[in-house]
């Protein structure tokens, strides 16, 4: 797992990186860790979100694409090998698109299934409901009990207000 996080941070040499990428391809649990690390890092850095299954789903779609090139013995494994960087590239394009279209980074969601529809991305429909859930949660949190009413500031924080309310 450490190697995977080093790979993610670009700390591995070329040879070691190739080795780890091969491990990634063959071990689904490592692929899952790779996804999760990226999701967490993205969330921590930029408050954006890409669904955890993005890479897997993309790969499934790629696998489902009709094969145009003449069949080759190693073709299937090559698709898998290329799909990982390709997934990253597509995610990057989606991210750039999202950044360009969005003016309010917090509490908005990258609609992974419909990246071609910026209106749906910007709608952030559930923010009112989210503050309901936050309010309900505070009641039972020991941390909130220490802070008294101060913890409720999250539910009325002006950055997360639903303008429709």
């Amino acid at each position: 797992m450490d190697k995977i996080s080093q790979l993610m941070d670009g700390e591995l040499g070329e040879r070691e990186a190739r080795l780890q990428i091969r491990r990634l391809e063959s071990d689904p649990s490592l692929t899952q860790a790779w996804d999760t690390y990226h999701l967490i890092r993205d969330a921590l850095r930029d408050d954006i979100c890409i669904g955890i299954d993005f890479e897997r789903r993309l790969r499934q779609r790629l696998d489902g694409e009709p094969t145009v090139i003449a069949p080759h013995v190693h073709f299937a494994s090559r698709v898998v090998r290329y799909s990982l960087p390709l997934a990253a590239a597509v995610a990057g394009i989606a991210l750039v698109g999202w950044l360009a279209l969005s003016s309010q980074p917090q509490s908005e969601h990258l609609a992974e299934t419909k990246p071609q529809n910026p209106v749906a991305v910007a709608a952030a429909p559930a923010s009112g409901q989210m503050s309901d859930y936050l309010l309900a949660h505070q009641e039972y949190s020991p941390t909130a009990d220490l802070q008294g009413m101060a913890s409720y500031v999250r539910t009325v924080s002006n950055e997360d207000r639903d303008p429709a309310r």
Binding site: M130, G148, V153, V156, S157
Partner: protein
């Protein structure tokens, strides 16, 4: 025969190990007592002040008042920056007002008295997952404050640094820290009065605007119940503390709400039928220290949130399943 030099430090360490362990235990007992004092002070004292809430680049100030007498607790939070919002909390109800004193949300409280702050048996488990230490004395909002550190023993919970007013135990400042020691959220009083000078907050909407609040929304409510849902793979130490069905005012469809806690952090799990009328956001977002993760599960929508790292919230969300499966 001489010992290799590199072994000397470990021998020295060995000699001091026992007293160090004892000192840690004593510190923990003292720190636990302080934690209970903080929780008690938040509910038993009268206080009113201005505090700053910040996370990332975001900073905003609010005013809070807590008043208690024989008839119960009365609390108010009022935003001072941006659009005005007020939240009133009594033993029976939580009401949110907008800037024109219109009620925008009401929630009935039912379980408060049977759900005291920091249950003793949870506190006993706290030291399994956090290392507790007393910190230094500092001055905050004009008061002497005792610092208290809660360092997580694994990556599934945030660290906490709390500053409690030295004589009453009232929490003056609180900071949550991620695994790298970076603050994910902080709140601190900049001005505060404690004691007799605090007056009871007014709960009725002002008369000038009463005509506009003639038709306030009816209250949401929650009833403790078996929801039929369970989290199968929560991180070590997170135990279910309550399970209920929530009813949004005017809706017959309950939302399952389960709360898991390690004694300090809490994670809430909400399960509801997948809405057909609106687009469902999916994935991870944040509100200060609270991570929120939403995912569909067949025809249901699972929302998990809590003041815990993303990995905790996501691991729990991904292991929600109907009981018995």
């Amino acid at each position: 025969m001489s010992l290799p030099v590199r072994l000397l430090p470990s021998l020295v360490l060995l000699q001091f190990w026992a007293p160090v362990a004892l000192a840690e235990t004593l510190q923990e007992a003292e720190a636990l007592a302080l934690l209970q004092k903080i929780a008690g002070a938040a509910r038993q004292l009268n206080y009113s002040g201005t505090f700053i809430y910040q996370h990332g680049d975001h900073v905003e100030s609010s005013r809070i008042t807590h008043f208690v007498d024989r008839s119960g607790e009365y609390e108010k939070l009022e935003t001072l920056d941006g659009p005005k919002r007020e939240i009133f909390r009594t033993e029976n109800e939580i009401i949110t007002f907008d800037g024109e004193h219109r009620v925008i949300k009401r929630e009935r409280r039912t379980r408060r008295n049977s759900f005291p702050a920091l249950l003793p048996d949870q506190l006993a488990h706290l030291t399994e997952h956090y290392l507790l230490r007393k910190g230094e004395l500092e001055r905050i909002a004009g008061y002497d404050a005792q610092a208290l550190l809660l360092e997580p023993r694994d990556g599934f919970r945030y660290g906490h640094k709390l500053w409690a007013e030295a004589s009453t135990g009232l929490l003056l400042k609180a900071r949550m820290l991620d695994e790298k020691g970076h603050a994910v959220e902080q709140s601190v009083f900049t001005q505060l009065i404690i004691g007799a000078a605090v007056v009871r907050p007014v709960f009725v909407p002002s008369s000038s605007s009463s005509d506009r609040s003639r038709d306030p929304p009816s209250a949401d409510s929650a009833t403790p119940a078996d929801t039929g849902w369970v989290v199968k793979d929560q991180p070590a130490g997170f135990r279910k503390i309550i399970e209920m069905k929530r009813f949004k005012a005017g809706s017959q469809t309950p939302v399952a709400h389960l709360v898991y806690s390690d004694g300090l952090a809490a994670v809430s799990v909400f399960v509801e039928p997948l809405p057909t009328s609106r687009k469902v956001p999916e994935g991870l977002t944040r509100q200060g220290a609270v991570n929120i993760y939403t995912r569909p599960l067949s025809d249901q929508l699972v929302t998990v949130l809590g003041e815990a790292p993303a990995v905790t919230v996501m691991q729990m969300a991904n292991s929600v399943s109907p009981r018995g499966q």
